[in-house]
Each structure stands twice: as structure tokens, then as C-alpha cells.
């Protein structure tokens, strides 16, 4: 796929020329991509134009979400709206994004479905219905996706309660137990799946929500003809933790620990896109030393997560030993993370405008040790796993798909690169100083489970290269920005001048006030594109925080890829997706 064609025209001009007044407004934001309001009746056509007709099209629907506009005061220049549906489109050819917004009614929000244009809009629309009650005309069903089918209300509406303790305590009554079990019974006919093939009755197998090879609380219902999967129906939401509602309650600073837990294997990786969005709104420039520390820690956590993937992937194909070796290496890295941040899995180390504290004395020796330790271990793992004949037989040619299919279903990260698509935000849209580092983006060829494993194994080596450069070139200077909204402000300055002391007092007693507006932070996470889209109404907490996680998109693809696999191969495919349920359900 060529990404370097001639520079295309401005999509906003193209859209205005084509749709005229049906493009209602172009919103002023702090973003570096256009945000357009589209008339609801033109929504499908506009999306089709951007995906199919325009030069260098927007092939990837990265995200679709809603904003409840109730109680929002800073909306200058935006059309009236009760619930706003947003879509975020990405063009790989242009290396550019565009965001479209559609205004809906507050009482009975509705708009036409986009599933005819972008197939992966399906789960996002179900989520929008579940969380906001938006109905998408033309859909065959509106089933909840994250909440239990028996749930009452749409949790992300401002009118819905936030705290569990606002309600009477949870009681496990017999009636609740029986009703929930009945509602969770597999219903193949209701889902539109056949019960027979060529006169053979299919076996319906309920796989999860507790199963050792689903890597968390995830359920798939399978229709099987012998060992062969005929259809698969994933059921998610068993790990829904209400993180987006939490963001509307916690202060800007207080939400940082929650971002760690969005993807609990990613450590600081999720802190970065959130803070990039907040810093964009505040207008903070992060000093070079803080940027370098952020990059170094992110790469360490990328290695930690990929090592866990590598081990469990081998385990799911039947090799028990590698995971034990890899966990000992993870412990070595955890010890360094603990020395630097004080935490193992959830460090909460980044701050608005920098990082919590400077690197401790002697950090360089620890990092140097691990840089010497890991490469020979990686060679050994390659011999144990990637060069193992058994592993190759179990993974080569299994669950393969091409780049176009991957993009159609919103796949990003190592799985997209395994198909041969050279798309890594660290290279394409460098952030936090990634443009200064010398590293390669490993890409696969076949898009199968083997290539996905190989890409991640190679990414560990590239991350080590980046960490080596951080170690050799760590800049001096402050680890926090000299900006009034840096939270908490540098302690030395706080003790010296009254201005910083006032900001410190306000931030601690009241909460940092982030200027009103909308901003987005995107990073190349260890699983794919991770995006935080925040809306500030000029308060101490966000009006809306949307978290786009890669795993949500990746699981949606299972019904497309699974048919034809055997159950054992499905387990390998699930392992090769490398998801955690917290990253799916948030």
C-alpha cells in the first residue's frame, strides 16, 4: 500500500463543494484536524464520500462516540444539540484525520446508521445506544453491549447516577440471579445465526466468560460443526468499569491513576495520550527531559506487555516453559520501574506538564544492566518459540487477513503491521520527541498469527534501541513545565513565589481548572492506536472523556475471522489479538 502519493486537496473544501449547506459548521478547536458539524440526514452520504469517493480516502473509522451536551456552557459556534454523535476518521494516505459531529435530540436521540459505510461502526453504535440511548435508524437490532441486558437507563447520560453508593447496596437475590442467568442464555436465532449446516445440527458452545484461554472475562458463543467454527458471537462488558464516567467526577489530575487501569498491562502508556490532550488545552510545552523520561518509561511498559504476550502466546500453542522465563525478565523490569516510579503495574507517574519527580540516582546503571541482559534472552526466546517447528505449524496461515480487511474493521497496532502496512504513529506523527530516535517499524507479510508474534518480538528489540538512546542522550533540565497549570507545580518555585503558591493552593484545594475546549491525544500504544478525546467546560473535571482503545475494535473482528477455524486455532487467534478486557470494556 503506497502512502506517499501526491498531496491531496483540503477535505473541508471538497466537502463544502459537494454538500454545501448540509455541512452545518466548522468548529474552532485546539485540534490539528478539522471538526465539522454535519446535518443528520446527510451523515451517511458524507461518510460514504469520505470513505469511497474522495482521493486518498479516510479508510479507517477510528472511533464513534457521543457527548451529552446537557449542562455544557461553553459551546460558542456550535449548532444546538442534545446528544452529539462524533466520528473520528483517519486517512493513512493523507496521514490526516477528520472528525464529524451530528447533532441529535436530547429526549429521543436518533440518526441513520453508518454500518452500511463502515462495518466496524456496528459495535460503536451499540455502545452509543447502551451508554446514551442513541437509536440508529436502519439497524436490525439495538442490543446492549457493555451493560447487562437487564440494566435500566443509559449510564453516560448526565441524568444517570455515577456512584454505586448513590443506590442501595447490591443484593444477590435469587430473583436477580435467575433473571440474569436467563437473560445471558445463548440465543443463536435471536442473533441471526443458523442452527444447522448442510442438514447437520450445529453444536452451540458457550465459551466464557470464565475460561483460561479468553485472557480475561470475555465470552464467545460458538456454532460448531465438529471442530470447525461456523459462527462466533462475542459478548463483552464483563469488565466494564465505568472509566469514562469516572473522568467526569475526578479532577483532571486525579484521573491519571484511572488511565493506568484502562489497560492494566500498559502502565504509563495510557497516561500519555490523556495528558497530551490536557496539555494541548492548557497550552503546555513539556520540557525535553520530561519527554525523554516519558518515552523511556513507555517503551519499558511496551516491553513488559509484549513479553507477557510472547509467553502466553507460546503457552496457548502448548509451550509451557517460555512464559516462566519471560516472567522472570518482567520482574527485572518491574524492579527498575519500581525504583523510578514507586509502582509496579500502576505507576501513575506522569503529571500535567511533566513527570512526578526526577530520575533517582543510579537509574542509568539499572537501565544499562537490563539493556545488556535482555538481547541474549530475546535470542533464546526466538529459538524457543519462533523457530520451534510446532509453533510454526500452529500459527502460520492461521487467522490471516489483509490490510484492507484490517482497516475495514478498525484494526491498528501490531496486527495491522503484521499485514504489511507500515503504520506506526511514533513514525507517522511523532509525539513526545519520537522524531529524535532512530528505530525501525517491523512489518509482517502474511497477516497471520505467526507474523503478529514476530512483529511484537521485533518491537521489543526496537524498544530496547529506543531505551538505549534515552540512556545515552538523557537531556538535563527540569522535569516539569514552567507553566501555571502544571500540576502540581515545581516545589522549589512553589516555596519561592506567591504566584505559583496560589496555583498550587487552588489545584490542591479546588482542582486545576483547564480552559474550555476540546482536544485529542493519540499515541501508538502497545496494542494499537490509543486516543483520548476530552471536552472541558472550563471546570475542574472533564465534561466528557472518550477513550478509544484498540482492543475494542480488535474483538469486533472475531466473527469475521473465526469462521473456518477449529476451536484450537481460535484459541491461538485470540492469543494473537493480545487484548486485555479492561482495554475493551474500559
Amino acid at each position: 500500500m503506497s502512502l506517499d502519493a501526491a498531496l491531496p486537496g483540503d477535505p473541508v473544501a471538497d466537502l463544502r463543494a459537494r454538500f454545501g449547506p448540509r455541512i452545518l459548521a466548522v468548529q474552532e478547536t485546539a485540534e490539528d484536524f478539522p471538526v465539522l458539524w454535519v446535518a443528520p440526514e446527510a451523515a451517511v452520504e458524507v461518510h460514504r464520500f469520505l470513505r469511497e469517493e474522495i482521493a486518498q480516502p479516510f479508510a479507517l473509522l477510528a472511533d464513534l462516540w457521543c457527548i451529552d451536551e446537557a449542562g455544557r456552557t461553553h459551546r460558542t459556534g456550535q449548532p444546538a444539540s442534545g446528544v452529539t454523535v462524533c466520528t473520528h476518521l483517519v486517512s493513512l494516505g493523507r496521514n490526516a484525520d477528520i472528525r464529524l459531529k451530528i447533532a441529535c435530540d436530547a429526549e429521543a436521540p436518533a440518526m441513520p446508521t453508518l454500518t452500511g459505510v463502515y462495518p466496524n461502526a456496528d459495535w460503536y453504535e451499540r455502545e452509543a445506544f447502551d451508554m446514551f440511548g442513541v437509536r440508529f435508524e436502519g439497524r436490525t437490532h439495538h442490543r446492549r453491549i457493555l451493560m447487562s441486558p437487564l440494566w435500566d437507563g443509559h449510564p453516560l447520560r448526565k441524568s444517570h447516577y455515577a456512584r454505586a453508593t448513590e443506590r442501595p447496596p447490591f443484593r444477590m437475590t435469587d430473583a436477580h440471579f435467575d433473571a440474569t442467568e436467563a437473560a445471558m442464555q445463548p440465543d443463536p436465532e435471536g442473533w441471526g445465526h443458523p442452527l444447522a449446516r448442510d442438514g447437520h445440527e450445529l453444536m452451540v458452545l458457550n465459551f466464557g466468560p470464565h475460561h483460561p484461554s479468553t485472557h480475561g472475562v470475555f465470552r464467545i458463543v460458538l456454532g460448531l460443526d465438529g471442530e470447525e467454527v461456523i459462527w462466533a458471537e462475542p459478548d463483552i462488558g464483563y469488565h466494564h468499569r465505568g472509566a469514562e464516567k469516572m473522568a467526569e467526577r475526578q479532577t483532571w489530575h486525579g484521573f491519571i491513576p484511572y488511565t493506568d487501569r484502562i489497560d492494566y498491562l500498559g502502565g504509563v502508556i495510557h497516561e500519555l495520550p490523556y495528558l497530551m490532550a490536557v496539555e494541548r488545552l492548557c497550552g503546555i510545552t513539556v520540557p525535553p527531559r520530561a519527554q525523554c523520561i516519558r518515552v523511556m518509561l513507555s517503551e519499558f511498559y511496551r516491553i513488559l506487555s509484549h513479553l507477557l504476550f510472547y509467553g502466553t502466546m507460546a503457552q496457548d500453542t502448548g509451550a509451557m516453559s517460555p512464559v516462566f522465563y519471560m516472567f522472570t525478565d518482567r520482574e527485572r523490569i518491574h524492579r527498575i520501574m519500581e525504583t523510578i516510579t514507586g509502582g509496579r503495574m500502576h505507576p501513575a507517574f506522569f503529571r500535567i506538564g511533566g513527570v512526578a519527580m526526577d530520575l533517582p540516582t543510579g537509574w542509568d546503571r539499572l537501565v544499562r544492566d537490563i539493556l545488556e541482559w535482555l538481547p541474549p534472552r530475546m535470542d533464546e526466546y526466538e529459538r524457543m518459540v519462533l523457530k520451534s517447528e510446532l509453533f510454526r505449524i500452529r500459527t502460520q496461515g492461521i487467522a490471516a487477513y489483509d490490510t484492507a480487511t484490517a482497516l475495514e474493521w478498525g484494526t491498528t497496532g501490531p496486527q495491522l503491521r503484521a499485514t504489511g502496512c507500515d503504520w506506526d504513529l511514533r513514525k507517522r506523527r511523532p509525539y513526545s520527541g519520537y522524531e529524535q530516535y532512530d528505530f525501525d517499524v517491523p512489518i509482517g507479510l502474511h497477516g497471520d498469527c505467526f507474523d503478529r508474534t514476530w512483529v511484537r518480538a521485533e518491537e521489543i528489540r526496537q524498544s530496547l534501541r529506543i531505551i538505549r538512546q534515552c540512556l545515552d542522550n538523557m537531556p538535563g533540565g527540569p522535569v516539569k513545565a514552567d507553566h501555571p497549570l502544571t500540576t502540581p507545580p515545581p516545589r522549589g518555585a512553589m516555596l519561592q513565589d506567591i504566584e505559583t503558591l496560589i496555583h498550587h493552593f487552588l489545584a490542591v484545594s479546588h482542582g486545576t481548572v483547564v480552559p474550555a475546549g476540546e482536544a485529542t491525544g493519540q499515541v501508538e500504544g502497545h496494542r494499537g492506536v490509543t486516543q483520548y478525546a476530552i471536552v472541558s467546560d472550563g471546570g475542574t473535571e472533564s465534561h466528557r472523556t472518550r477513550i478509544r482503545t484498540p482492543s475494542f475494535a480488535h474483538l469486533q473482528m472475531i466473527p469475521k475471522v473465526a469462521p473456518g477455524l477449529t476451536v484450537a486455532d481460535l484459541v491461538v487467534y485470540i492469543a494473537a489479538i493480545d487484548f486485555v478486557m479492561s482495554d475493551v470494556d474500559r
Binding site: L146, M147, S148, W151, P155, H160, Y161, A162, R163, A164, T165, R167, P169, F170, R171, M172, H176, F177, T180, E181, M184, P209, H210, H211, P212, G216, V217, G237, Y238, H239, H240, R241, G242, K245, M246, P257, Y258, R261, Y264, L265, L308, V323, F324, F327, T328, R330, E331, R344, M345, H346, M581, S582
Partner: protein
């Protein structure tokens, strides 16, 4: 209770042979001792804490030292449920079902702040503490607890199991098994007996008052 095996250096004298090969103990103690050292944890994880629970099994921490490394994937073969992570509203019913599928005697460790009380997540889809519907033997604080903390909990649980008295024979005034009825645990463990009352408690005693 302790036992030590020593290799014979010479042919033991009569009488001494019996002391080396025979063990005198009460059956109750022997059963409690065996249970204590052969916990089979259920391979069940909810969220972040599960990663630390899995880490405890790996060589650096080596949970096998406590005789609790035989992770079972089916509840029917396990006797220790470690609730490792957030108890989600949608997951509560499957969790209850899994617990019921475990055979007695069975124990529950509540691992991490979320399972203990909801922790950081006082939010609509989270059950505020697994003890609202399951009896808990040991609570482990932390978010997530370190593997060492989980091992500490294991040791606490072992001490509790070693001290547990579950009569093996028929007890005075107890249930007399009929020809077809399965024999319930008799007497009912205090933990199970008090569970409904504890789960319904909404006000805890003021720590200052005691």
C-alpha cells in the same frame, strides 16, 4: 504438628522402628494439615490483580513453596477462589455460579481494594465488595497487591485452615444422614452461618467505640 524423615543409618532397634515409621496424631489434625498444604487455587481472574496473582506462581515468587501451585481451570477441581480484581455488576452472577460449582470445603481470598470494597471504583457498574454475596476468609489490601502480599494471605489462610475443626464423624445432636440425602457440613462453618448477616450490614461499629 510436624514430621521429619531421616534416612536410616543402621538397622533400628525394635521399638525404634515403630517410632520412625508410625505417626500418632488425631485424624482431625491430620486432615487439617493435609488441607493446609494442598490448596488448589481456581484459575480465575477478573482484572489487574490477576496479573499479580499469576506473577506469584512464576519462579521469582514460586507459590509452589506453599503447596498451592496446582492451578485448576475448572471450579469442580479447585478449593480456593482468589477473587482477583474488580467485581463487575455483569460478572457477579457468573462469579456466584462459579463459587457454587466448587466443592466443599472451599475458601475465598478477596484480593485487592476493588474486591474488598470497590476501591477506587465507586461507580455504577461495580459491586462494592465481593463479600456482599460471597463469604470471604482473607482480605488482601493493595491496588494491586504485590505477589508477596498474596503469599502472606496464603499463609494466613493456611493458619486458619490448620486451626479449622470440621468433625469427620457424626456429632452429638448433629444431622443424621439418611440413606439418600447427601451429608451437609456439620456443623455449618461460622463464616457461612454469619454471611447473610454480614452481607446485609450497612453500618460498621465505630472503631473509636471499642
Amino acid at each position: 504438628m510436624s514430621a521429619r524423615l531421616t534416612p536410616p543409618q543402621r538397622a533400628p532397634a525394635p521399638g525404634e522402628a515403630m517410632a520412625l515409621s508410625a505417626l500418632f496424631t488425631r485424624l482431625d489434625d491430620l486432615v487439617a494439615w493435609s488441607r493446609k498444604h494442598s490448596l488448589w487455587p481456581f484459575n480465575f481472574g477478573l482484572s489487574c490483580c490477576y496479573v499479580e496473582m499469576a506473577t506469584a506462581l512464576t519462579p521469582v515468587y514460586d507459590q509452589a513453596r506453599f503447596g498451592a501451585e496446582v492451578i485448576r481451570s475448572t471450579p469442580r477441581q479447585a478449593d480456593l477462589l482468589i477473587v482477583s480484581g474488580t467485581v463487575f455488576h455483569k460478572m457477579a452472577v457468573p462469579l456466584k455460579r462459579l463459587y457454587e460449582q466448587m466443592r466443599e470445603p472451599r475458601w475465598v481470598i478477596s484480593m485487592g481494594a476493588c474486591a474488598n470494597s470497590g476501591g477506587m471504583y465507586d461507580v455504577y457498574p461495580v459491586v462494592q465488595g465481593v463479600d456482599s454475596f460471597l463469604p470471604v476468609d482473607v482480605y488482601v489490601p493493595g491496588c494491586p497487591p504485590r505477589p508477596e502480599q498474596l503469599m502472606d494471605a496464603l499463609v494466613l489462610l493456611q493458619q486458619k485452615i490448620a486451626a479449622e475443626r470440621r468433625p469427620l464423624g457424626i456429632t452429638l445432636g448433629g444431622f443424621q444422614p439418611g440413606p439418600t440425602e447427601p451429608r451437609p457440613f456439620d456443623p455449618v462453618p461460622r463464616r457461612d452461618r454469619l454471611q447473610p448477616e454480614r452481607a446485609a450490614a450497612t453500618r460498621l461499629a465505630d472503631p473509636e467505640s471499642t
